[in-house]
């Protein structure tokens, strides 16, 4: 029996997308036996920065925590600050927040599905999903005024209103989108390429997932029945008035994580339609105070596209004394690392993509032989070819 293990560094450079992270995979032959994540490549000190900004300035800093789910960050930020100030936004603003949150969840999930398709070598599906995401981005631009960065939520309400013409356009486009998502669902659930690469890969059972603290669709695909939208009765968003289903699956593998996201997109479309049709009238913003009482605390919990997002603020008058942000990816990185153990090197791309982090680091993986100290650089394409070769055997 051989006890020879190799170290396989993964990252940290990815030129394309968010979050350069670095994973060191310890492999025995082709099987991953241990994974250590290194995360300090994009630490920007935002928590420290927020301590030196007023609440109004801080709103724009909070939006820049993440490029893909920035409405979740502004939403959690204003929820925390509003709680510390003891104010509640008007009903119409709560509905508008639901609309922007959900439409962003759609575009974020579409990114993941497209990238997952690309990683399994299904490039046409990648292009099709990416095209549909572009239509969603245009709708977002129509509603909020910004394509990617918005800072749409304000302390005490939202930034701008939606009119009937735009609401009708959103409903029309989303109903067309629903047809397409149903088609993609069929592809993801039936296509042999997809099923071979994802079914029974990266399995993490429910008990393990809870023990390691996973959140979001990643955890819900392991039958963890937890969704902040349903489980946290927030007075800052109207999730208690908009009906929706929480998607959980009990397959616990990569496939379940992808399908859970497809189903969530369909659920989001229903929610947006409901919210637009039942939107209460009235003001969209109350005048908020500039300061919160010293020592007042607020916790904003929001279901971001990747899972539970927490902003915990402690006020120092006009600015936070301490503002803590716990992002969903930070909660997921530990269980995700464990999900690799026991699976082969060729499965790394699919498991890695299934928890929705950054993935372009796959373009350059170095395999280092620990004993002889020689290194070999493998590209993402070679990894994909290796996976295909294994399946064709």
């Amino acid at each position: 029996m051989s006890t020879f293990t190799m170290l396989l560094p993964f990252g940290p450079q990815h030129p394309m997308l968010h979050e350069p992270a670095h994973f060191k995979f310890e492999v025995d032959g082709e099987t991953v036996v241990n994974v250590t994540p290194y995360l300090n490549y994009v630490h920007r000190g935002i928590e420290k920065l927020l301590e030196n900004r007023t609440y109004v300035q801080g709103l724009y800093v909070a939006a820049r925590v993440c490029g893909i789910c920035n409405p979740s960050h502004t939403n959690a930020f204003v929820a925390a600050i509003e709680e510390a100030m003891g104010i509640e936004p008007p009903p119409r603003a709560k509905y508008l927040r639901v609309v922007t949150q959900e439409i962003h969840r759609i575009q974020s999930h579409l990114i993941l599905l497209a990238v997952a398709a690309e990683e399994m070598g299904f490039n046409s599906l990648f292009m099709l999903i990416w095209r549909d995401r572009e239509r969603i981005l245009r709708l977002i631009e129509g509603i909020t005024g910004g394509r990617v960065m918005q800072s749409y939520d304000r302390i005490g309400g939202v930034y701008r209103d939606i009119n009937d013409v735009l609401a009708e356009r959103v409903i029309k486009e989303l109903s067309e989108m629903r047809e397409r998502i149903i088609q993609y669902r069929k592809v993801f659930s039936e296509d042999p390429i997809v099923r071979r690469r994802t079914v029974d890969i990266g399995v993490l059972r429910t008990a393990e997932m809870v023990r390691l603290g996973g959140v979001g669709p990643f955890a819900r695909a392991s039958a963890v029945d937890y969704d902040v939208r349903r489980d946290h009765k927030s007075i800052h968003v109207a999730y208690d008035e908009v009906p929706f289903n929480v998607i959980t699956r009990d397959e616990c593998d990569v496939w379940a994580r992808l399908i859970a996201r497809v189903d969530e997109v369909l659920e989001c479309i229903n929610m947006i339609e409901y919210a637009l049709k039942h939107m209460p009238s009235g003001p969209i913003r109350y005048r908020a105070p500039r300061a919160a009482p010293k020592g007042a605390e607020g916790i904003g919990r929001v279901e971001a596209p990747r899972g539970e997002l927490i902003h915990h603020t402690i006020s120092d008058g006009q600015r936070p004394y301490r503002h803590r942000i716990r992002t969903p990816s930070f909660a997921n990185v530990f269980p995700a690392a464990k999900a690799h153990i026991g699976y082969s090197i060729a499965d790394i791309p699919m498991i890695y993509v299934s928890w929705d982090p950054c993935f372009s680091c796959l373009a350059r993986v170095t395999i280092v032989d620990v004993k002889s100290g020689t290194a070999k650089i493998v590209s993402g394409d070679e990894l994909r070819k290796e996976a295909r070769r294994r399946w064709e055997k």
Partner: protein, 149 residues
């Protein structure tokens, strides 16, 4: 009938703040309190564990000479949110690690160590730099109020 308030009052000084519970415990009791929470969560759930550990928030309070740690928990069954608060001395910040009972706390404890300098005794792999850049000194903790660079 499972009574959260009486359970929490066994752990420490409990109060209801808005939609959540807050319990204050002395730092040497932290790992014991978390075990009690876990046990309570195990009693009400069908599976082995039903307690979601969310995060640790470290707050530097130089005037009081202490660093406050706030542990966030949620019970999956009834979705009650519990904060466990404790304070450690600022000049020698040490507290027992909860990773033996909750493995998911590993990254969170490491982050608090890296940014505030609280040492978690019994943590399997406490490393620095974890979040901070590699050129930071080992005694530099940027989230402390007196940090300058």
């Amino acid at each position: 009938m499972w009574d959260l308030q009486s359970l929490l009052s066994q752990i420490g000084e409990v109060r209801r703040v808005g939609w959540r519970w807050e319990v204050r415990v002395p730092p040497e009791k932290i790992s014991d309190s978390v075990s009690k929470l876990l046990k309570a969560a195990g009693m009400m759930a069908s599976g082995p564990q039903d307690l979601h550990f969310a995060t640790i928030v470290g707050i530097d309070k130089p005037d009081a000479g202490e660093i406050e740690l706030v542990y966030h928990f949620m019970f999956h069954k009834n979705k009650e949110y519990v904060l466990i608060r404790t304070s450690v001395k600022r000049d020698n910040p040490e507290v027992a690690s909860i990773t033996s009972v909750i493995p998911g706390a590993e990254m969170n404890e490491n982050e608090v160590y890296d940014l505030l300098g609280v040492r978690f005794i019994g943590h399997p792999n406490l490393r620095k730099p974890f979040m901070t850049p590699e050129n930071f000194r080992s005694d530099e903790f940027p989230l402390r109020k007196d940090w300058r660079r």
